[in-house]
Amino acid sequence: MTIQFEPTHWLPSSTVAALSACAIALSAPVMAQEAYPSTDETLDWTIAFGPGGGNDIMARTIIDILTKYDLYPGDVSAENRAGGSGAVGWGYLYGQDGDPYGISTTSGSFVTTPLQADTPWQPEDFTPVALLATDDLVLVVNGDSEIQNIDEFIAMAKAEPMNIGGTGTVNVDFIVPTLFAEKAGFEFDYVSFNSMADQTTALLSGALDAMVGNPGEILGLIDAGELRPLVFSGQSTPDALGDTPTMGDVGFDIGVSMPRGLILPPNVPEAAQEWWIGTMQKVVDTPEWAEYIASNTLTPTVIYGEDFRTFLGQTKTNFESVLKSVGAIE
């Protein structure tokens, strides 16, 4: 039995942030003259959320893979700069303009937080490295429900509008069923919850007709037959969901998902961007990465560089238009 004991993992994030802020202040003037990446520079990895969350786990998985396969020559220091739904951490990265030794991982809030708050940055401002995976949603009904599959669901919903639960409104949970319903031609009432736990309880209690959510947290309930998966929003269904069709399979592909990717600060030299694209191509080929994708039921969707910037822009536009049409944002 081994116990991993890394100081940066258990120190309060603020302490680490404060300590590392000093270190950065001292080392900043020394800019890389030689080839990127220089072993003299410590890679300053910003995690825009607290320890234990989805973003944190992804960042630490990538760092573990980089270390294990010796893909990054220098030291890597990972800091949780949490706060304001990612605004603090990505704001910090935005401030590292042009510095190729700043890096961060993205998640859904990377697109939604700028829509909700006055952040100085937009998702397209950063130097994109790669989209590595997407968080997609599964539509489920209670295991007792008479609805057996998505066709029956659509038919029932057309006859009488149903309610669908999800987490938050400025969120993919609201966008996905809205776009799907538009394409499939049914109407529904969206019921917004604070957390996956709240909406799952509501569905089990029989109050909700259906809900959308990340499959990872509810696989246990699906296995036990308490919840019945109907349709999956990603490009391919994870193995754990069996033969559940994708929205594309049933003819109503919506093309929206939450991007999990890697970004550098704005205006980073192209050489650094190219180096990271090359490195990430190796990372996604490792068995560790495959295991991460499987255990978190993510959809492996990999695109690199400027295509990722385009993807971010499209996702943002999609979100904006749906949210504006319902009046959630101005």
Binding site: M1, I3, Q4, E6, H9, W10, P12, S13, S14, A17, G50, P51, G52, G53, I57, R60, R81, A82, G83, G84, S85, G86, V88, Q116, A117, D118, N163, T169, V170, F174, D189, Y190, V191, S192, F193, N194, A197, D198, T200, T201, L204, S205, G206, A207, G216, E217, I218, L219, G220, L221, I222, D223, A224, E226, S295, L323, V326, G327, A328, I329
Partner: protein
Amino acid sequence: MDIFSDLIMGLSIAITPINLVYLLLGAAIGMIVGVIPGFGPSAGLAILLPMTFGMDPIGAIMLLAAIYYGAMYGGTITSILLNTPGESATVASTFDGFPLAKNGRAGPALVMQAVASFVGGTVGVILITLLAPMFAQVSRSFGPPEYFLLALMGMLTLIVMIGENWRLGIISALIGFALGTVGVDLETGQGRYTFGSAELIGGIYFIPIAIGLFGLGELFYAFYQGLHRFGTGGIVNYENEDRFWPTRMDWISTRMTMARNSVLGFVVGVIPGAGATIASLMAYSTERSLSKTPENFGKGEMAGLVAPETANNAASSGAMIPLLTLGIPGSASTAVLLAAFLLWGLRPGPLFMEQNPELAWGLIASMYLGNMALLTISIFAIPLFVQIIKVPYRILGPTVIVVCALGTFSVNASFIELYIMFAAGIVGFFMRLYGFSAAALVLALVLGPLAEEALRQTLTISRGSFMIFVERPASVWIILVTLMLVVMLPLLNRIGKKAQMVKKLDAG
């Protein structure tokens, strides 16, 4: 019996030396995490989670769970000694805990809270062991209509909290409700009073407000009274070592309180999302309504401390039920435990206990041992903690302010939360000065958003019809219990008082 063979199997796993070390380590960390104001179990768990990656899951879950329920023991210590809740579930413990310390009974108060915590925690684990499948049914019968009714029931307890000056009490509660409206509107997604700030998207958190209003407010008030000019002590008196142990009266008068609130706390804990904070507040007000001497509550009544303490520990056990039987986390802390299960590649859900009997029963067995360990640690640590109040006030006061600030800041690294805490401190001082009810404000801040969100969800689901509240069996039950509390309790009180008067007349 099947259950006992499972439990003995669990015990045999929990009792291996290395697992015992993890358990004790977790209990000790939990105490410390609980003692630091603002820094609650969920933050402590999240930070320690990465440390457990390389560990054996059984040892790791025992460690993490011990931190979680250990925090309930530690959190009360500062509630009693400094009027500063260590975490949100111990806010209610300040109501009578601090007056007890002020009256020179800090020692007995600390001992009683440790015992109450132990009773609550242990009764909770016994109920998990025997009746987990039954309570799983309770967990899954709660939807938005039930949460709304539960919040309404909680608001009835506001009437108890409002205090003697009802006008000021109502104003306090309204301020709490108003603060509860800040944040992104759950239904429409529009920001309410967020002023474009990303840090206010999630609303105003409860704990900086509670620390400010209770802890800092009390400190500022003590400075206002000039206590820093006195040598030692000041806010609370504690001289006599022989008054360390509770009196016989303390034990006898709180027996039933412990029994009642163990069950109440557990049941509230079983409901996902309600949790230890609501359980402790409900326990306090229920106990006060049932008491023969409600006028002593808030002035140092032992039952007023024992009730919330028993309930919050029982609730933290109860919250294990939805986690273990459905894979649904009932609170921020159990959400971290769920994340841990997922990280280890386990699949929480209805089949979890069947598929992972060693882990589930090892955890349950460890909770018996953990509570015993925590009781022992608490009793030995009390004389140490009591030293805190012997520190001269001019040193203690500023130290507490720094610790509160660090604790609050370390959770989300948010400066806005620090400002909120200090602002609440100043408001708390004036509330104290003019007789407003900080308890009512805090309760309104907890219940307001819960009630609003649940009502709007309910009405979206029912398409605007209020009939949904009488169509669901669980809702009907809650309505009946509430009515019983509203009608029966005052009636019983009146009959009780009449009987006493008759007795007095007879005697006279």
